[in-house]
């Protein structure tokens, strides 16, 4: 067995590159994350439970989850339309629009945060239009969602785009030949193929939204129980030197993120299998 493995390794550098990768990964990522778990184990279970289910903490989960959910849903709808238009239609400025979709990846979150706040504040460009109608965006949960829509947009577009691009025409041809209208063809033939990437894009945007801090902290107003997101609450606890509380809340957030990561990986495997099968 050992000889067999050796035979296959014609190329040099296996041990050193793998060893270095694992060492570096451990030092920068794994050991620090393990430290978080070690620190939390300093709390007894009732203490831990009391911390992570206190009223203010529960409210922060609610704000984080609901605003991320809403933003991810908005991105699924508009992300699909943008991906569709970019893959299937021709229009002036298409290349620029395609590039702009990546802007939320490249633009530092703090820059996005102050820009969005200044747009949607009651005296801002859009805020001043909405204010007379009684709609407040900045410093409300709606404002948090606006920031998360910005952050999450590329995830849906970039997940749907390649799948839409690689779809073969034959099914659509058949549907058209059999007399189906475009809308019916879309619903019955195309949408089923697009469901896996849409769910993946949704989950990626949702997961990013739950952890997001920089773009949200300016526009949210940060009122406990109302517009305080979980990542901000962790920082607040840290600044009050409540290390064990901060750690406990962080562990809950981490568990949610990892569960989502697991879900996303499973979805992508499912989606890849479907693509290969078709």
């Amino acid at each position: 067995m050992a000889a067999q493995v050796k035979e296959r390794r014609v190329l040099p550098g296996f041990r050193i590159t793998l060893g270095y990768s694992i060492l570096y990964l451990s030092l920068i990522v794994l050991i620090p994350l393990a430290g978080l778990i070690v620190k939390t184990s300093g709390l007894t279970l009732p203490q831990f439970w009391h911390t992570v289910t206190s009223e203010r903490v529960l409210a922060s989960y609610r704000v984080s989850l609901l605003t991320s959910l809403f933003a991810a849903l908005v991105n699924v709808v508009f992300g699909l339309i943008i991906a569709w238009v970019l893959v299937r239609y021709r229009f002036p400025g298409k290349k620029i629009v395609d590039g702009l979709v990546d802007m939320p990846f490249a633009l530092p979150t703090a820059v996005a945060g102050i820009a969005l706040t200044s747009i949607y504040a009651p005296n801002g460009w859009i805020g001043s239009l909405l204010d007379p109608l009684g709609i407040k965006v900045a410093y409300t949960p709606l404002g948090i969602s606006v920031a998360l829509v910005f952050i999450g947009l590329p995830f849906v577009v970039r997940t749907v785009q390649p799948v839409l691009h690689d779809l073969e025409n034959d099914m659509e041809e058949a549907a058209a030949l059999l007399g189906a209208h475009r809308w019916r063809t879309f619903r019955k033939v195309l949408l089923p193929e697009l469901i896996p990437p849409l769910i993946t894009g949704f989950a990626l945007a949702f997961s990013r939204g739950i952890g997001e801090y920089g773009s949200v902290v300016f526009i949210s107003g940060n009122m406990p129980l109302k517009t305080e997101i979980t990542p901000l609450l962790i920082i607040t606890k840290l600044e009050q030197y409540e290390y064990s509380q901060a750690t406990a809340i962080a562990l809950v957030l981490l568990i949610i993120s990892f569960a989502l990561l697991l879900l996303i990986n499973t979805l992508q495997r499912w989606s890849n299998r479907r693509l290969r099968a078709s």
Binding site: V87, R90, G99, T200
Partner: protein, 297 residues
């Protein structure tokens, strides 16, 4: 999480095949629907992406060129710029080295636990930036696991430059590796094995055979890594301690100015980071174009 960040592999395939945007009439929508969908897409991108960019410029130049230049020439802004460059200059090369090593091990060899390793490399993308900073406080802070030892020996990690660099390294950890792994996977090992059988040594094989094949993907990973390293806010905010002129990076400097109601100055500094983002995306576009061309050739 292969959809987390734009990948050059996806982009190259989409540019390489024939345009699908010229479709036969029975396979596309009526003109009215097409115009409606394009309008919705353009309006959404304009509202969500373009408007914030315009705002940054408008606010930065609200009081004219002089106060714009003044905000950028401010000693605190300059020291923030210096720190941001220092952090990127350390974090990006280290993560690049890791990315190349990990991609070599993963794509050129078979071993058990490979998929686990790939998942672990992606882990930092799933972690909230705030937690990425917090873990270093818990390790190196005064109350941290190594805190007492560090204080005894007078080493300062958190609330100082090393902590900022570590948090940045954590956040930007996967960028280069995740760009290189799919790219090198598709290229296989034949070229390298041929070079070895002709008597070339390991380093020579990497620089003469592998590197020319992956140079665009590598560059792609590096510029994305750099953009994130210079723009990271949450993780750095937790470990920085916000000492003006000492532990403030550009994004943190923006926050301080904003919270002091110095909006014009804050947006002036923000415009600098926006310029970095635009340059990053332009380079990214050029690389995608090159990749698509080299694939066609």
């Amino acid at each position: 999480m292969s959809g987390a960040v734009p990948s050059v592999a996806n982009a190259a395939t989409s540019a390489a095949s024939l345009p699908t945007d010229v479709r036969p009439k029975h396979l596309t929508e009526s003109k009215g629907i097409r115009i409606l969908l394009i309008t919705i897409a353009l309006l959404f991108v304009a509202l969500v992406v373009v408007l914030p960019m315009v705002t940054v410029i408008a606010q930065a130049f609200k009081k004219g060129w002089d106060s714009y230049a003044e905000a950028l020439a401010d000693p605190d802004a300059l020291s923030a710029l210096r720190l941001t460059l220092t952090v990127a200059l350390v974090a990006v090369p280290l993560n690049t080295l890791f990315g190349a090593a990990a991609a070599w091990a993963i794509t050129k060899f078979k071993f058990r636990g490979k998929n686990l390793l790939i998942t672990l490399i992606d882990l930092p993308f799933a972690v909230s930036p705030v937690i990425s900073g917090l873990v270093y406080i818990l390790l190196f802070g005064a109350q941290g696991l190594l805190g007492p030892w560090l204080i005894e020996h007078d080493y300062k990690i958190v609330f100082a430059t090393p902590g900022i660099i570590l948090a940045t390294m954590f956040v930007t950890f996967p960028f280069v590796a995740r760009e290189l792994i799919p790219l090198m996977e598709t290229q296989g090992v034949q070229d390298e094995e041929a070079a070895i059988s002709l008597g070339a040594k390991g380093w020579r094989v990497f620089f003469k055979v592998t590197l020319p094949n992956i140079k665009w993907g590598l560059l792609y990973g590096i510029i994305l890594c750099n953009a994130r390293a210079m723009g990271e806010f949450g993780a750095v905010s937790v470990v920085s301690g916000h000492i003006r002129g000492e532990t403030n990076t550009l994004p943190l400097h923006i926050e301080i100015l904003y919270n002091e109601y110095q909006y014009t100055a804050s947006f002036a500094v923000a415009s600098l980071l926006m310029l970095l983002a635009i340059i990053t995306l332009v380079i990214k576009g050029i690389i995608e174009h090159k990749m698509a061309n080299s694939r066609k050739a």
